[in-house]
Symmetry: C2
Subunit: 199 residues, 2 copies
């Protein structure tokens, strides 16, 4: 009796694979449109098995959104070396492209988080904190910005401005180029940091 | 037979009075908590009469929110004279105080508008446009900022940053004074305008 070696995914790997698919489906769909039925169809497995993996539609949405947030954080990781403004440019460019490529899903997450879905809001806030926290992280070039409550608040404001700028621009680009959009976002961080009153 | 002259409100005046009361009640309550029952009780009139004035709970909420938005726009009107930055300071100070004084209602409106209540979103966007549009309005001191799509986008971003800064500060002031908060908001407008790439 011979057995052909075959790749057998562990339940954890299978779950990851389903989450990857969920994130891809979410890119051009709202959360409301991302149903267990759709994922079952796309993955070619039964609804029952999906409920086995995720428990409920809400838990499935949470898992997909958390996976999408991890992707966003990974894709926008700035290079470890280089000038701070160059690193910021790389990271902001990746963020803008992420929001362009995943517009439907991103907007529906912002909507769900802002509209009062508390668990999605928590995931959204965690991702934002992770993105904003980078501004304060020590790196080979040293700390970029002194970590004070005022600086934290300003970076949070800049982050909200960035999201608004990108989403409003996607809705109505009005002849503004992607490069100009990115320039404004990048240049406005040191600009608002300069606006912090001296302690 | 003598009749004592008495003040009799027109239906329109009565409706205005009820909206004023609704706006006052909304200051320290969410929209969900602002029911027709509560307004009826506070105004000392029947629910039936309120339905006569407003038609439905949704229409009542829309009318109250529109009234509140008009109040916000009126209270934050900058003085017609003076230096642009002084006028901005006056207007931003009034905005910050408005959000502090009407925190519950304001947050619930942002939530409803962001979460997908389309008619409340339209009222919210109209109010924002009115506030942002002032930045571009000609006045005795001349136009403050040249009206281009890029400048409109940046002012919109600044406005989103302002809202985030004020709401985050109210949630957790972290030893930051109201004056420092206002300084940052005011100083960041010219700062982000400077970030606009030269055409």
């Amino acid at each position: 009796m011979t057995t052909t070696p075959r790749t057998r995914l562990s339940p954890e790997q299978r779950r990851e694979q389903l989450l990857d698919l969920g994130v891809r489906l979410l890119a051009h769909r709202s959360l409301d449109e991302l149903s267990i039925d759709l994922l079952a169809e796309e993955a070619g497995i039964s609804r029952g098995l999906l409920y086995h993996y995720f428990g409920s539609k809400q838990a499935f949405h949470e898992a997909v959104v958390r996976h999408a947030a991890d992707d966003l954080i990974a894709q926008t990781t700035p290079p470890t070396g280089g000038e701070p403004m160059e690193r910021l440019l790389t990271s902001v460019t990746a963020y803008v492209d992420y929001v362009i490529d995943n517009h439907e899903g991103y907007v529906s997450l912002v909507k769900a988080a802002a509209g009062g879905n508390e668990s999605l809001r928590a995931i959204y806030e965690d991702a934002r904190s992770a993105l904003n926290g980078r501004i304060f992280r020590e790196d080979t070039a040293g700390q970029i910005l002194t970590d004070t409550p005022l600086a934290r608040l300003v970076v949070r404001g800049w982050s909200a401005m960035t999201e608004e700028l990108v989403l409003a621009w996607i809705d109505d680009p009005a002849d503004i180029s992607r490069d100009d959009l990115i320039s404004i976002v990048v240049a406005s961080l040191p600009a608002v940091v300069e606006a912090i009153p001296a302690g």
